[in-house]
């Protein structure tokens, strides 16, 4: 069991997963990270960070229903 969350993919994570977004169920961000790397092994090679509801995470965090998690490869603006 777990919370239903919306996962958004950006940058190379989009090409790796072939998706812009999807709905997944996870207990917390550590669980989500584990699931993602199992589902998309190539994602494990990208040093991605996660944002929870637009806030960049510095450590793993619990999840609530309808949270939005963004998968963020290293930023390349400028």
């Amino acid at each position: 069991m777990g919370e239903e969350i919306r996962v958004l993919y950006f940058g190379t994570a989009r090409e790796t997963t072939g998706k812009n977004e999807e709905l997944l169920t996870a207990e917390d961000t550590a669980d989500l990270r584990h699931q993602l790397i199992q589902k998309y092994p190539a994602l494990g090679k990208i040093p991605f960070r996660m944002a929870l509801n637009k806030e960049l995470l510095k450590a793993d965090a619990p999840l609530n229903n309808n949270d939005i998690i963004a998968i963020l490869p290293p930023f390349q603006g400028g």
Binding site: F10, T12, R14, A70, F75, Q76, G77
Partner: protein, 133 residues
Amino acid sequence: MKNRYLVRGPITPLLISELLTLGNDDAGTGAVSIFIGRVRDDEIDGKRVNAIEYSAYDEMVVKEADGITGTIKSAFSDVRSVIILHSTGVVRAGEASLFIMVTSGHRDHGTRACRHALEMVKERLPIWKKELF
């Protein structure tokens, strides 16, 4: 403009000329410091970059750029306004993809704040690029 920080396609000379007029009504501004970033035609693996396609997490860009603007204004008391604009979509080599403008009373805070804003933009804005050849 997609929002006040993102524009679809290149930042054109026409758009830049319009941006330069912002704050003209603020007679306390004595210095306008600008950084313009352009797409370089780098060679990667023997291929020349023709353009870059930028993508962004739009909503988070707004939140982070708001934060950068606030930080700059707190850190540099002489700064009167900060404008940050980044492209999304395709920008060809030679065209501008980033525009930062800081207005200030005097040059010192303005030039330092512009440089500081640039570093924060590169570090904090969720924007990605894909080279097109």
